[in-house]
Point group: C2
């Protein structure tokens, strides 16, 4: 293998490590808890706004719906590693099984992200019936994870 190839591989390894590190770095367990709770709180506000539009409690405005859905999709990329910080099931609503059954937890998280991506696609398409159905599926995928891994 020549020097350039080695350099490229080493750069790639450093990049992947550093990118992971940038997401995962929390100095304290409480920082991870505060971070994920803040993400979920903002996300919840905007998901609630989507719900109000879907149910006709506020006027349905396609652009506003897409803007809120896009924000939910962006925020939903953030909190998962913070849920995997050891000890962060103490002093929070997170069940210990979220850590001990990491693969299942992350599977539900990915399913949630997939459903929200479909909701955003439906928002862009703009058909209210498609949006309603995608919103229901997205909400169900939130609930699936909460039911398993959030304390009642």
């Amino acid at each position: 293998m020549n020097k350039n190839a080695w350099t490229a591989i080493c750069s790639a390894v450093v990049m992947i490590w550093a990118a992971g590190d940038v997401r995962a770095q929390f100095a304290k367990v409480e920082d991870a808890i505060k971070y994920r709770q803040s993400v979920m709180s903002v996300l919840g506000t905007h998901f609630t706004r989507l719900g109000a539009m879907v149910r006709g409690e506020t006027p349905f405005v396609r652009e506003a719906f897409e803007e809120n859905a896009s924000l939910v999709a962006t925020l939903l990329k953030l909190p998962w590693e913070a849920f995997q910080v050891a000890g962060s099931d103490k002093a929070s609503a997170l069940r210990p099984e979220a850590l001990s059954q990491k693969e299942d937890f992350l599977k539900l998280a990915r399913a949630n992200q997939d459903e929200v991506a479909k909701l955003l696609a439906a928002a862009k398409a703009g058909e209210l019936s498609g949006i309603r159905s995608a919103f229901g599926a997205a909400g169900a995928s939130c609930k699936a994870c909460h039911d398993s891994y959030r304390r009642k």
Copy 2:
């Protein structure tokens, strides 16, 4: 004016009103406070990560830098109306002047958004010297608003 023109104008008015409403709707003062504090907390985490890369405390990875800067720019669009909810200067670090001097507060908020937009542009360009200088200006524009409108 013909009927179509009226319909177009009325639709536009409803859209603008509804879009404003979607952003501003907080059932309780505490909801507005929690929302803006959560936004600022997430934003602070990612701005801190940018700072760590700028200062060389973590490896500088352009893609990760851009990702974090993009997130900060997105989050920075959200909290301003929540800072303008009457009574929300009680039980929070917000000074009453943020409400009584709304125009100046929003001017500093817009300046902050402008500097972060420049930081994101610098991140995309990828020159570390430009990024450093834009990061400094963005940080100064955060501080300008905090100095005036956040309690010590």
